[in-house]
Symmetry: C2
């Protein structure tokens, strides 16, 4: 597929590195440094404070949000960029709970990011109105959806195993019992086709530094469905979500539509890198990426299962149940990943025993996959992970 | 003073522009683009995900926080960077209120940023336990400090007039009635000497894109006093504030000390620009900056009052009661500022009638001040603001 030859040239890939960790931090788009430099020199440097208007910094969060909206099946004008994913989870959950004053249960699952659960814990404690977080196994979520559930808060693609929820079916079930839905798309946006509008999702959140390649600390996003956006009352009632931020009114009045989910000053420099990264998506459709990701994932599973019998596939075998990653388990997973990184193949480890590999067709091809499987085979065959150097590093990836 | 000749060369100042708006957005440090480019190419580009450890991205928020701590008289290890100022206000206020479960009043003043008051409004509504925001006139704050006050939340330097609170006296009074203090240092950090430790402040917050020159969307900071930092319970209980972020525990446990005030992934690219900007402070002390700022401010007031009798000084006349800005009022203030900008002198306007000029000795000198006063005189003398073009722009500065 020629298009992926082209998109691969749009990324800087370090010599000697095969990068299967785009699910944690995407690589540098070739155009990003120039875009950021232009922002620094021509906008911040020359326009100074007037850049907020002249260079359009103030409108960037919604303009960029519209570009992300296209990748997640959201209606235009219903996604805004800003803050971090944790903050966006808090905003969505606070808004959703505010719509459900008579219900007490936040339903989530053990496949959700702990970070999302932490934000829920903090909010539950602050609200102090008898709310409870109920965390069930992923396959049991549907069974626990009943009219006690205020909010169903799920991450679509499990960050450890890659297991993917059926967003449409769970959203429909949630809706049928009157529960509000919040979907975390951290491992979905840019990884798999998402149809927020079609699923009638209520809220969605996500980050931009994984499959969207915006760089370390890139801004997060939040989606609010059209039927809610003019009614939600923001808990984080920031000045840039005010109806008239520059009137400096003493009282908060929420802005129109998705603008109200803005909080403070947007991270304009990060946003420039994100814009460069999003340009790449003008060349390729989400469906093309998905089809290619499945080909590459199937190849990787086949290669690894054939050559590394000690590794156990923990991702769903059916590609339609899987996001854009492949995970294996092994008791020495941490050290194996370190040994593999020493051979130039970067995947990552997730406790307690998961080796995780992101499959990102924009810059990964068949020979990368074969090479990664080769190196993994060498590590396993030679038991290279027994080197103590691979067993003691801090786990920051 | 030679040192300020040197620091002036450390900024990019556009040709034909006299910039008196560093209180809104500081100018580009000459070293920032190179620092950011190095981050992009050598760190993100080459290290990819391993940059979190190898390049120290994960520790940046506290390391950079220590550099900011020196400028605001904070104990080392008690400041952390991240998020936006609004989020930091929310964190500080939530933590403070959690320590004051038997009191109902949040005392602030009409000189505070509306944005801070908005965040308080949102939190009060969420907490729903009879809290009230009491906003008095700045000079009346001390009189309203009594044992009903849970939290005294003030911005030290008024963003409109430059009036500066006596942080030491108000902190002492607050402490004597058992109120917790939150100081917003947005117009203090890098502008005036601050002694958080000496004042026994409980919490402080601020931003980095004004007098610290980190660029549009630079990260904010939060300070928590040593006596509180190991006891506060974060409302925004994010994974990077967890005791062991990479253990992926299902339950939140706050990290040690100031680490617990971290929330999500830090904005690493913005942080690189901030680090370049902070290098400038290695060459000059806050006391030197303050002394020079007072000289320049006194000169500006004298020049403007002598030559523009229609402008009324609204900043305190005594420099010890004033931050590092000078404000005048005029009914046509908005159009006057626009006319002045058209002449290359950038100040800004704040509703309803305030012309605001930031005095920033790191890059502003006597001739800038004289030139700005000349141009203001020309605008006033020629009534240049009557040009309709100056009366209709959106107010985004």
């Amino acid at each position: 597929m020629d298009i992926f030859k082209a998109t691969r040239t749009m990324f800087h890939l370090p010599d000697g590195v095969t990068y299967l960790d785009g699910n944690s931090l995407g690589p540098l788009p070739v155009s990003a440094p120039e875009r950021v430099a232009t922002l620094l020199h021509e906008q911040w440097g020359e326009m100074l404070i007037t850049g907020w208007n002249k260079a359009g910094w103030m409108d960037q969060p919604t303009h960029v949000g519209d570009r992300v909206a296209k990748l997640i099946g959201a209606e235009p004008g219903h996604v805004v960029m800003g803050d971090t994913l944790s903050i966006k989870v808090y905003q969505a959950l606070a808004a959703a709970l505010d719509m459900q004053l008579n219900r007490k249960i936040i339903l989530s699952d053990s496949g959700n990011f702990p970070s999302d659960l932490y934000m829920a814990e903090g909010l539950i404690r602050s609200l102090d109105r008898g709310l409870a977080l109920k965390t069930v196994r992923p396959e049991e979520v549907a069974d626990h959806l009943d009219d006690s559930v205020a909010v169903m808060m799920l991450t679509q693609v499990d960050y450890r195993t890659g297991r993917m929820h059926d967003m449409e079916a769970l959203s429909a079930k949630a809706q049928s019992v009157g529960a509000i839905t919040i979907w975390d798309l951290a491992h979905s946006a840019g990884a798999v086709p998402v149809d927020l509008a079609g699923c009638k999702a209520d809220f969605a959140v996500g980050c931009s530094y994984k499959y969207l390649n915006s760089g370390p600390g890139g801004p997060a996003f939040i989606y609010v469905a059209p039927k809610h956006v003019d009614h939600v009352r923001p808990a984080l009632s920031g000045w840039l979500g005010h109806e008239a931020p520059f009137a400096f009114d003493p009282d908060y009045r929420p802005g129109a539509g998705i603008e109200r989910m803005r909080v403070g000053t947007p991270s304009v420099i990060q946003m420039a890198a994100l814009e460069a990264a999003l340009d790449i998506w003008d060349h390729v459709s989400m469906d093309q990426v998905r089809a290619r990701a499945i080909e590459l994932s199937e190849l990787f599973i086949e290669e690894v299962e054939t050559r590394c019998p000690d590794l156990t596939l923990v991702s769903p075998r059916d590609p339609s149940d899987r996001g854009s990653q492949v995970s294996f388990s092994h008791a020495d997973g941490y050290a194996i990943v370190q040994a593999l990184i020493a051979k130039g193949v970067i995947g990552d480890f997730r406790a307690p025993d998961i080796l995780r590999f992101g499959i990102t067709p924009l810059y990964i091809n068949d020979s990368d996959i074969r090479h990664a499987a080769d190196m993994l085979h060498q590590v396993m065959e030679g038991r290279l992970w027994n080197n103590p150097a691979y067993q003691t590093h801090a786990r920051v990836t």
